[in-house]
């Protein structure tokens, strides 16, 4: 980074002050959605082992509750959290203040209004039933306009940067800022405005879903990892010269990998084949990330315990690799023949959204909130609860969903096992998953209480003022690979 501009504490304070309110508004709404989505998700999962639960009411039947929960978590929590983190990081890395932040409040209002109407619309029966595009058509314009405002802010902040070099995190942020609106509007046009015929519809949907995870959530997580890992360890990213290769190879292959969701589906066979090949190409960027991330971490494992942010970021790295390796396996034809249509596939998407992306956002929030508000985290017990619940919840869900998926896959493959007995065999696993979702919800509640104490103007009055440590010396900052 340019040594004349980066890492002067006064300048960072100025940038943080300009970003404070937009970031707090986005993160606050994100956390409300995280709680609401978590409750819906828990209820939807409990219906899997107790089918009679809330079945009497049309609004809460499983087929509506499950997509409503998913959409609340993806568009409510995921996008708001990414907006908060992305805008702040873009301003920090471009060494420029976030100008005219007032417009971002308007964008936040529209976005959240859109998601509220969308989730409500799903519950009310206006769902389109396409995976992650369930929200009814009337919210699409609202979301796109709101997104345009936010995306333009990120891009112009990048455009007026005061730095010479462009850091890895910025590539991912800028890419994601463009990919999402393109993916979303193309999918909306091809599915609803001028619908394509027949099996082209599931192809468009698979392309969108794979793009949303691979070109929006994963880049956000990687931006956080590339920024915080060197920052919190106080040393540059090792083998940083490989990072551009990892970036282009990852996004190029991910963009073509959507077809692997359609292995065995009634579509021309070149589509899944292209997806499988693209998935296998992802091995190379994985090696780059191992060299970058684990190389940087090597020799500094002791530091992980000292920083809460770093612990979440390490969790995110683990989640990223787990999801990526599982993705490679699921793209193999012989594996897909067995695991298809089971919870193992659900586990893959959930790992990307939660274990990889959400943990990165938590880690980022634990870093930037004290800097934006100038306060400390009031309850260290609650931060402990949050981290503990996240680790335990992820571990339980990996076991629970993998266990359920394998049970299901094994029995579905054996035609002599009756379908009813498969459902019965899954009940125990579903119960375990419900417990894990409940645990995650406890962690999120703990985080939310701490958030209110640090960020809410009224409730944070009694919170102690934070001492922000002086950033590492400039000798490190001048090196490539250090934010």
């Amino acid at each position: 980074m340019n040594s004349t501009v980066s890492n002067s504490r006064a300048e960072q304070q100025e940038i943080d002050a300009s970003a404070k309110w937009p970031v707090l508004v986005f993160l606050g709404s994100a956390l409300l959605w995280l709680l609401l989505g978590g409750i819906l998700q828990l209820a939807a999962n409990m219906q899997l082992h107790t089918p009679a639960l809330f079945a009497g009411c049309e609004w809460t039947t499983h087929g509506r509750l499950a997509p409503a929960a998913q959409n609340a978590l993806v568009y409510g929590w995921g996008f708001n959290a990414a907006f908060a983190f992305g805008l702040w990081l873009m301003a920090r890395l471009s060494a420029t203040t976030l100008r005219h932040g007032g417009w971002l409040f308007v964008a936040a209002k529209f976005w959240n209004l859109g998601v509220t109407l969308g989730v409500g619309g799903i519950l009310a029966g206006y769902s389109t039933s396409f995976d992650l595009l369930e929200m009814p058509r009337f919210v699409v314009l609202l979301l796109l306009v709101a997104y345009a405002l936010i995306g333009v802010w990120a891009v112009t902040t990048f455009g007026i940067r005061n730095t010479e070099n462009v850091y890895a995190s910025q590539w991912y942020l800028l890419g994601a800022a463009f990919w999402f609106p393109w993916l979303y509007s193309i999918a909306q046009i091809m599915l609803f405005k001028t619908p394509v015929r027949g099996v082209l519809q599931p192809i468009v949907d698979a392309w969108y879903v794979s793009g949303l995870y691979g070109l929006w959530f994963v880049p956000m997580a990687l931006a956080a990892i590339y920024y915080f890992l060197p920052k919190l360890l106080g040393k540059p990213v090792s083998n940083y010269f490989l990072a551009p290769l990892g970036f282009w190879w990852l996004v190029g292959a991910t963009a073509l990998a959507g077809g692997s969701r359609l292995i065995g589906a009634p579509v021309p066979v070149w589509i899944p084949t292209l997806g499988i090949v693209a998935n296998m190409l992802l091995v190379l960027p994985l090696v780059v990330f191992v060299l970058n991330f684990l190389g940087t971490l090597r020799g500094s494992f002791g530091a992980i315990g000292r920083s809460l942010s770093l612990r979440f970021i390490v969790l995110s790295i683990a989640g990223f690799f787990l999801a990526a390796v599982l993705g490679l396996f699921l793209a193999l034809r012989d594996v897909a023949a067995v695991t298809q249509f089971t919870l193992v596939e659900g586990l893959h998407d959930w790992l990307t959204l939660y274990a990889c992306f959400s943990t990165a956002m938590f880690g980022a929030a634990y870093f930037y909130l004290p800097r934006l508000t100038g306060k400390v985290w009031r309850s260290s017990a609650l931060t402990g609860v949050h981290f503990g619940a996240t680790v335990l919840g992820i571990a339980l869900l990996v076991i629970g969903m993998a266990g359920a998926g394998c049970t299901q896959a094994h029995r579905l493959a054996d035609a002599s096992v009756s379908f009813a007995s498969i459902t019965d065999a899954l009940a125990g696993w579903h119960t375990l998953n419900s417990a894990a979702f409940g645990l995650l919800l406890i962690g999120h509640t703990a985080f939310f209480i701490n958030f209110v104490w640090i960020a809410c103007p009224i409730n944070s009055r009694d919170t102690a003022v934070a001492e922000i440590p002086v950033p590492p010396t400039l000798t490190l900052a001048t090196k490539e690979g250090h934010a």
């Binding site: 079945a55 463009f178 193309i186 599931p202 073509l256 379908f419």
Partner: protein
């Protein structure tokens, strides 16, 4: 990397390539797949859905049935959907052409419940009132017993698709759902399906891909074994259009 423009162009190219290579190419290949005219019977296949079944497809969509049910039968040799010792989700694997009659194509990705692509063919009594009654009972009281086990395990009841009416001495409606004791309404009441339930059942009964397209039939035979020289043995019919 220092140049913002290079970065932007690369980002744009990534998605443009993926859109053109995947969606546009697939659209070129499948976008105008026509119905197939049987050379002997001179029928057009697949048959379009009836009006009521079309409405039922909307009910299927708004209730989110796709959360737990797929509508795709994988071909013989991949998974165990068709063929010997299989779950027999259909008589054959699904072809792209099967779906051109549907305005919203929900092939699904979850089999928490059984595949429904051929449910109209699979039902215990495959004609008339009996089938409809079976489906009504499945939707109203999935936990009611049929033979040794329940009708459906793990499926929620859709009681809101039915109305409970006072008989008040009248004869029960011919549409009234016949329910086993313990699952039915109180004496003097009857349960009748709403228009939505009737449409949904009409849609489910319309789900059967029974016509086997001669142009696509080759896709359903497992890939031929390779001989020593690596050349495929004859036998796999090559599809002429809209094939895989």
């Amino acid at each position: 990397m220092k140049n913002g423009l290079t970065l932007f162009l690369g980002v744009f190219a990534t998605l443009a390539l993926s859109w053109a290579g995947l969606l546009l190419a697939a659209h070129k290949q499948l976008g105008s797949l026509p119905q197939f005219k049987d050379p002997v019977e001179e029928t057009l296949n697949p048959l379009p859905l009836s009006g009521q079944a079309r409405q039922g497809a909307l009910v299927y969509q708004d209730l989110g049935c796709v959360s737990c049910h797929t509508q795709q039968v994988r071909h013989e040799g991949f998974g165990n959907d068709v063929g010997e010792h299989s779950r027999a989700w259909g008589e054959r694997g699904s072809y792209p052409r099967d779906y051109i009659r549907d305005s919203v194509v929900l092939i699904g990705s979850n089999r928490l419940g059984p595949d429904l692509r051929n449910v109209g063919k699979r039902l215990p009594e495959s004609d008339g009132d009996e089938t409809a009654q079976y489906l009504y009972r499945l939707l109203y009281a999935p936990e009611s017993k049929l033979g040794s086990g329940a009708l459906a395990h793990g499926m929620p009841a859709y009681k809101f698709l039915f109305t409970e009416r006072v008989l008040a001495g009248n004869q029960p409606s011919y549409k009234a759902v016949k329910l086993p004791s313990g699952f039915g309404p109180a004496a003097g009441y009857e349960v009748v399906p709403t228009a939505r339930a009737e449409a949904l059942v009409a849609y489910l009964r319309s789900l059967k891909d029974t016509y086997d397209y001669p142009t696509e039939r080759g896709l359903n035979t497992p890939a031929p074994k390779k001989d020593e020289h690596g050349a495929a043995k004859a036998g796999a019919e090559k599809p002429k259009e809209g094939g895989h």
